[in-house]
Symmetry: C4
Subunit: 196 residues, 4 copies
């Protein structure tokens, strides 16, 4: 298994899962008179669609930022990558659930858990390949490795906080989820545009 195959396969999976999300946005058969109400009732689904679309986009970019630095693929990376894709592919399910019950505890916990698990597996793969420059470009500066470590861990911490806040106040929880997105977009920009 060479690196470009792994990337092409992963890109394919990302492209499909990001596109499949729209299949959940459907309207029950209603009279035209009730269409506006049905559309308004669909708003939570649309918002969770947009959030998941951007988050999967973020994971795709993050996947590239990591694989760009990797020189060699071994079995651990190969299987870790399949587990990572598994955790990304399941995201449409909690997304759908959160759109169905937007202000309830369980769906948001499941959604947060699935994002956390995906990010955690991503971190473990990164930790494995970057430890002592095991499989990454030997010229990668230690600072950059530390930056990426921090980025993964901060996001994990924020997800856990968001899920914890959920027990107290659902709006506070959503605020954190939203902040994670903003943080990732700004942080990733700072770390990896070098070779773009």
């Amino acid at each position: 298994m060479n690196k470009s195959r792994l990337e092409a396969f992963s890109d394919g999976v990302f492209a499909i899962v990001i596109t499949l999300l729209v299949l959940d946005i459907r309207i029950p058969k209603v009279d035209y008179d009730h269409l506006p109400d049905a559309l308004i009732a669909l708003l939570p689904k649309i918002l969770s669609y947009v959030y998941s679309f951007i988050i999967i986009g973020v994971y795709w970019i993050s996947h590239h930022n990591v694989t760009r630095l990797v020189n060699k693929i071994d079995s651990v990376v190969l299987w870790g990558n399949i587990l990572f894709l598994l955790s990304v592919c399941i995201i449409p399910f909690p997304t759908s659930l959160m759109g169905e019950y937007p202000f309830k505890l369980i769906p948001v916990l499941l959604y947060g858990t699935s994002l956390l698990v995906a990010n955690m597996i991503g971190f473990l793969i990164w930790a494995y390949v970057s430890y002592c420059h095991r499989l990454i470009d030997p010229e990668t500066p230690k600072e950059q490795i530390r930056e990426i470590n921090k980025s993964f861990l901060y996001i994990n911490a924020l997800y856990i906080i968001a899920m914890g806040l959920m027990f107290w106040n659902v709006y506070a929880s959503y605020t954190i989820f939203f902040s994670v997105l903003v943080y990732i977009i700004l942080f990733r920009n700072r770390v990896s545009p070098a070779k773009t």
Copy 2:
């Protein structure tokens, strides 16, 4: 993130969303005797399927015509592209709605809005990369840039007119939508076959 990755990922998303459209063409379980009626009732869905298929094909070609000129990808382009794909991926939803309520105001407005938003984001990305030749091939003639600018803006104007006409007469509105397609096909042909 290099350019070829961005293109491959975008191509994947385009290929998937254009293929997913067919999932909306389904027939309710009916006796064989009622099949002809059910098929005729499906005609609006089939027509909106064909229209969306071609429009997404148009956006795919347009995406290539622009990226072909681009030399470098920065964060703005990367995120702009994800937003653009988001607006393209949602097209199956208003397509389905328009097929369900073919001569009603709201679905056509939503459909027009989604096409307009996708085209507008495409224009903003193009404006960003082409302004002072920021990220495009420095040898791109100014005329060609102006042509592409015009093309985006004319189409936006036509979409807005089509949506406005909707309040007056649905057939006039559909006529404009159809003209946009013809205009794009002819216009794109004029602008970009040079390097094909």
Copy 3:
């Protein structure tokens, strides 16, 4: 638009549509005691799934056999290809219909029509690019062009015969459809393995 892009996009669409076919094979929620009956009732769907899977595979191979010879892409080929993909992408709909009403006239006619239209568009593209070696490799022997012409036209003729027989006897019609498959597999093998 260069040739490799067109191919990659078309390959993506073929891969997706061939995989989406399985979404139609579903079982209604029944008690376990009624599962064997439900599975037997599903047999026509499974058979039409297998047939469509192989036919789309055939069209994919045929698409490659043609594009391999093509040197240049112009607007006509580009839009012809999008129409061709449109006709391939819609195949899951008549496939599903034929699986639902396996021995009835209308579904088989629609199925045959969709295969015929796809094959006809393929032929028109081929006729356009091969006429006076317009866009194909100038060293392509005239014999090979004639062989491919014949192959397209024979298959079209067989589809039309199969659809005609449908009015008389459904089993005769299915026999022709099956023969087309066997004919294509053997014929394509004869024409194009040269550079494999």
Copy 4:
């Protein structure tokens, strides 16, 4: 048809079918109070999702390990590959069935059969290309060929045992299925990391 096209198309199909699996994980519309019960009732579906995801990942890796050694594609390989993809693409159907009736005989038999058929077709293709080094790299050591032969046949034997045990005890059967996965992951690692 050259090898890289065949691989790209196959990769696309694998990526799609592995991602489509999630579409089966859906929850019926219930009150929020009944959501926990509905989620627990979904557990068998989630487990069979995870198993199938990993098995398809395994088949993808196995596909690459074989194609990596192949030098030339002929018609037999081309059509064998389409049949192999057909058998992989149908996996979501028995997966869904097994998630619906987790401890019943028929679904597990169908699931086992579909895995067995896919693996058997894979073996036949491998036997065809590797016999007397017909289409594979002539420097492939005979030992490696024998190892791959054994790997296919052991897995087939285990699938058959798992399906046989099903008539006696469903848990014993699931244990074998799980062991196959562990065996494949460890065995494949031993055979093919050389050029990774």
